[in-house]
C-alpha cells in the first residue's frame, strides 16, 4: 500500500516537473518549492546523524576528548554571521577551513601540472602521440597573450582552437547523453512502474 502511494506521489511530482516544458505554471512552482524544502529537510538529520554525532558529540561527550571543545567553540562562531555587529567573528571558522589552500599549492602543481607534463613527454613515435603533443602545445600558446597572435605563430595557435572545439564538442555530447539517460529513466518509471505499460 505504502509503495503504491509512493509511486503515485512520485509520478505526480514527475509530471509536475515535466509540465514546465509547456510553460512555467503553478504545478511546476509547487514541485520546485517542495524540492527545495524536502532537500534541505533531508540534509539536516543526515548531517546530524552522519557528521555531528560520530565526529563531534560522541568523541566529546562519550569518549571524553575534552580538547574537542575548541573546535566546538570555533564551529559556534559561524553563527555570528547573523549578527550585524559581530559578523566578523564568523571569519575564524572560515579561515580555519581556508587553511586547506596550503595543500592546494603543491597538490595542484603536482596533479594538474607535473603529472600532465610527464604524460605528454613521450617518444613521438606514432601519429596520435604527435597529435596530442601538437594539440596541447598549441592550446597552451593560444592562452599566452604576451605575444601577438599573428603570422605563423597565429596560425599555430588557431590549431589550438580546433583541438579545443573538438574537446568541447566531446564534453557537450557526453553531457547531453547523461541528461538523456536521466530522461529515459523517468519515462521508464512513468510507463513501467506507474502505468505498467512496459516490463
Amino acid at each position: 500500500m505504502t509503495e503504491t502511494i509512493g509511486i503515485w506521489i512520485a509520478a505526480f511530482l514527475t509530471l509536475c516537473m515535466f509540465s514546465f516544458l509547456y510553460k512555467d505554471n503553478p504545478f511546476y512552482k509547487f514541485a520546485e518549492h517542495l524540492f527545495v524544502g524536502v532537500s534541505m529537510g533531508y540534509y539536516i538529520p543526515y548531517t546530524y546523524y552522519n557528521a555531528f554525532i560520530p565526529y563531534a558529540y560522541n568523541p566529546l561527550f562519550l569518549k571524553k576528548e575534552y580538547i574537542l571543545i575548541i573546535p566546538f567553540i570555533i564551529g559556534f562562531l559561524y553563527w555570528f554571521r547573523f549578527s550585524s555587529k559581530f559578523s566578523w567573528v564568523s571569519r575564524y571558522p572560515i579561515a580555519f577551513g581556508m587553511g586547506m589552500v596550503g595543500m592546494g599549492v603543491p597538490m595542484s602543481m603536482h596533479a594538474t601540472v607535473l603529472v600532465q607534463m610527464r604524460s605528454m613527454m613521450l617518444p613521438l613515435d606514432n601519429i596520435n602521440i604527435i597529435l596530442i603533443f601538437v594539440g596541447t602545445i598549441s592550446i597552451l600558446l593560444y592562452f599566452f597573450f604576451s605575444k601577438a597572435h599573428e603570422g605563423v605563430y597565429g596560425k599555430f595557435t588557431s590549431v589550438g582552437i580546433w583541438f579545443m572545439m573538438v574537446g568541447f564538442g566531446a564534453s557537450f555530447g557526453y553531457t547531453v547523453m547523461a541528461r538523456i539517460s536521466l530522461l529515459i529513466g523517468r519515462i521508464q518509471f512513468l510507463l513501467g512502474d506507474w502505468l505498467g505499460l512496459i516490463k
Binding site: 509511486i7 514527475t14 596550503g102 601540472v113 555530447g173
Partner: protein, 207 residues
C-alpha cells in the same frame, strides 16, 4: 583582530600544509589527522547558516505577502516535516525518512535534471548553428560522440564507435590536457594569493 587574525590563521595553517606535503614525517601526518578531525567537528555547524537563510527568506515572503508567497509555505512545511520525520524515526533504510527520500527527492531531482535534455538541445541549436568552421567542428564532434555512445551509432556504421573512441582519446585528451595545465597553474596562483592574504574576498564584509 577582525581581519589580521583570520589572515594569520590561513597563513600559518597553509604553511603547515605545504610543509606536510614536502616533509613527510610522523609530525606532518599527525597534523593532517588533527586538522581533519577538527574540520569534521566544525563542519556540521555551518548547515545552520543554510537552514536559517532559507527559513529567513521564505518567512519574510510569507510575512510580506510577496508574490507567490503560498509556495513558501510549501517549502517551509516540507522542510519541517522531513526534518521532524528524520529525527523521530531515524534515517535508516525502511524508515519514513527514506520513503520521503525515495518518493519525493529522487523523482524531483532526476526529473529536474532530465528537463535539461530538452533545454540543452535547444540551447545547442541556438549556439552552435554552423556559422563558422570552428562551430561546425564542435557540432560534428558532439554528434559523433552522441551517436558513438548509443547502439544506433553502431547500427549506422561500425566506424562511428571507433571514431568516437579516437576523438575522446586523442584531440579531446589534448584539449583537456592543455586546459588542465592552465587550470593547475591558476589554482596554484590563487592558492598562493589566498595564503599570502592578497586574495581576501572570502572574508566578506567591509571592516
Amino acid at each position: 583582530m577582525k581581519r589580521q587574525i583570520p589572515l594569520m590563521i590561513v597563513l600559518i595553517l597553509g604553511l603547515l600544509f605545504v610543509a606536510h606535503v614536502f616533509i613527510p614525517s610522523k609530525i606532518s601526518t599527525d597534523y593532517l589527522e588533527w586538522f581533519m578531525k577538527w574540520t569534521k567537528v566544525i563542519g556540521p555547524f555551518a548547515i545552520v547558516l543554510g537552514v536559517f537563510s532559507l527559513v529567513y527568506v521564505h518567512y519574510n515572503k510569507i510575512k510580506r505577502k510577496a508574490p507567490n508567497w503560498g509556495y513558501s509555505i510549501v517549502t517551509l512545511t516540507a522542510l519541517v516535516v522531513t526534518t521532524a520525520v528524520g529525527f523521530i524515526w531515524g534515517i535508516q533504510e525502511g524508515t519514513p525518512y527514506m520513503w520521503i527520500f525515495k518518493n519525493f527527492n529522487v523523482p524531483l531531482g532526476a526529473t529536474m535534471f532530465s528537463l535539461l535534455a530538452f533545454y540543452i538541445a535547444s540551447a545547442a541549436y541556438k549556439a552552435f548553428r554552423a556559422r563558422s568552421v570552428e562551430a561546425t567542428v564542435l557540432l560534428v564532434a558532439a554528434i559523433i560522440v552522441m551517436l558513438g555512445r548509443v547502439s544506433i551509432g553502431q547500427a549506422i556504421t561500425h566506424w562511428i564507435p571507433d571514431i568516437t573512441e579516437w576523438i575522446l582519446n586523442v584531440p579531446n585528451l589534448a584539449a583537456k590536457r592543455g586546459i588542465a595545465l592552465g587550470v593547475g597553474l591558476g589554482m596554484t596562483a590563487t592558492s598562493l594569493k589566498i595564503m599570502l592574504g592578497i586574495e581576501r574576498s572570502y572574508l566578506g564584509g567591509k571592516d
